[in-house]
Assembly symmetry: C2
Homo-oligomer: 106 residues x 2
Amino acid sequence: MEMETICPKFEKALELLSKRWTALIIYQLLKGPQRFNEIQQAIGISGKVLSERLKQLEQQQIVQRNIIPETPVIIKYALTEKGKAMEPILLSIEHWSQQWVEAETN
Amino acid sequence: MEMETICPKFEKALELLSKRWTALIIYQLLKGPQRFNEIQQAIGISGKVLSERLKQLEQQQIVQRNIIPETPVIIKYALTEKGKAMEPILLSIEHWSQQWVEAETN
């Protein structure tokens, strides 16, 4: 059998998704642009970690921070095209988990 | 906006996939049943960690260990139905990474 090497792009995508909370934040933002507090409450993450993750996701061009010029200013986080393109990943994980993961056991 | 909680099954699936090497092992086994050494060489993982991960994946009923009664005995690892059902997840990650992950940066 010939050995192929795993594509580095694929490995990078896995690394990104493996970071705790990252996939949940993207999943949550698939519902639409949201304020910091909305995301925080929905997924039960600490403010400190959420702020850190959102910064990383902005750097990776998966999330964008939109400033809505009202008084007071409203800031909403939204998925970019790159972020929205992750929808099939999250949906396939959701689908698999509904079919195969048992609720109480491991 | 109403807050929904994230489904615990979904969180469990994410946790499982987030464990370093796990997704790569499943991805590799999508190509068919393989011997320990084949998996090890293909993904460049240490024998110790691979052995640990395969045991966990067996416990989670994602991988099964098949003993082929030849002389000497051959042991191959294969995906179960639950494991094979993860194919759309891995393929969608692969697809996204090909489209959106840059090769050299980040």
